[in-house]
């Protein structure tokens, strides 16, 4: 990903298969706008999100990573998102501790019916990342050559 004058953020959105991915679908079919630089990766459940995935997304040029899953209590597998909640809390805390900008990572609960929330969340997240600027602290220079 070459660096050029008009930098636009790369966003990776990990979406749980059962709620948020359907939510994204709904946003799409409802013609709700959200920026094209959000790349959605579907995962079976929010708790499938291995912290390595988040780091590798940053390595490969992501400027922000967001996890979307079912609302707590609504997990297709009953409790997956409760675990994901604790895990992401710890991961975000660690990133924060290492001095990575807060706001580059986020978790939002988006149900299948919340297309509008999905679009709004993405718009807001893209804005946050645009304000934060390019990810410099967690980049792998080899991927930018």
């Amino acid at each position: 990903m070459s660096v050029n004058q008009e930098w636009t953020p790369n966003i990776v959105a990990f979406c749980c298969n059962w709620c948020s991915y359907a939510g994204a679908d709904l946003a799409g079919s409802g013609r709700m706008n959200y920026p094209a630089n959000v790349k959605i990766i579907r995962i079976p459940c929010s708790c499938r999100l291995n912290p390595l995935f988040v780091l590798r997304a940053f390595q490969r040029g992501a400027d922000g990573v967001i996890l979307c899953g079912c609302h707590p209590g609504d997990c297709h597998y009953s409790t997956g998102n409760y675990y994901a909640r604790r895990r992401m809390t710890m991961l975000f805390s660690m990133l924060d501790y290492l001095g990575i900008e807060r706001g580059r990572t986020r978790v939002e609960w988006v149900s299948a019916a919340e297309g509008a929330k999905f679009a709004a969340t993405m718009n807001d997240f893209v804005k946050t990342i645009t304000d934060l600027g390019e990810n410099k602290k967690l980049e792998d220079l080899r991927c930018k050559k």
Binding site: M1, R60, G61, D140, R142, C143, K145
Partner: protein
Amino acid sequence: MKKLSLNALNRFFGEIAEKQTLIAPIERAGQVDFGVWSESETVRLDVLKTVKSAKGAFFPQVEDMVRFHMQGKNIEINPSEVMNEDFVIFGVRACDARSFDLLDRVFLSDPVDPFYAARRAHGTVVTLACNEPEETCFCSNFGIDAAEPAGDVSAWIVGEELYLRANTEKGETLIKDLEDAAEDAAEETKKAIRAVTEQLPFASLNLEGFDGEHLMEKFNDPAWAELSRACLGCGTCTFVCPTCQCYDVRDFDSGNGIQRYRCWDSCMFSDFTLMAHGTNRPTQVERFRQRFMHKLVYFPSNNDGLYSCVGCGRCLSKCPQGLNIVKVIKALGGDK
């Protein structure tokens, strides 16, 4: 012989750094290691042993070799450039200086390693005598004189003065503008250093039997199993060692081209010899044995009896569990 006041050292460094990269033992985050000098860095010539050895100047931990671009069924090959700028490495100790000779025997033997050769050709080595050897030092066993280090320039700290002697043309060029000094200015210091090295706890290890002729005998010694029992299988000894030179060749897919690079590897790691059908060194006993057999038997057998150890003592102070080459020499050598 030339001389320079230690107070003027930074100015001298500045002059070198104007023309070429200067590598010196500098303190960063509480550790002293060889690193690129700039005015804001703290040089620590009082610290005898950098954590890592000086080998990184010629054989860096990671070195790009080639970058590939794949397009459909086609591949484009772009070899990395070899080092093409001069640099100076300052403050190398006698042991590390010897390690360069040993590395030369590996990398400059046929076929010559282009990356290493280029670094070697562009580097000027300034060595420094060891005023206060440590209890872990045992270089004298390998015929190294801590008071008379090799290199393009040898240097001695005497009081507040640094005395430098050029040994090669490269060295001559580097210090030609310094003030002249008496040839014997460092003699007292050398004597003092030798007096200490003679008294060191490992001043005379018995290396008898470590040669190609006793290869199988040493290899089959039952002592290896017990010696290696506590080994964690980490790479600390290997990575701090000035003579360990095994490397791995790896590919990194960057998303826009594949970077092939080499990096230090350790025979202590379980995947070092791993093949599709398994490994020929399945347990830590064999891996541990390989490292020390290579240093004390295999290498000398191929290199006129030169041991692949320079007695720097880094493994003695850095092994998390107190294993080291001296222990091996004592357990398997002539004093067995």
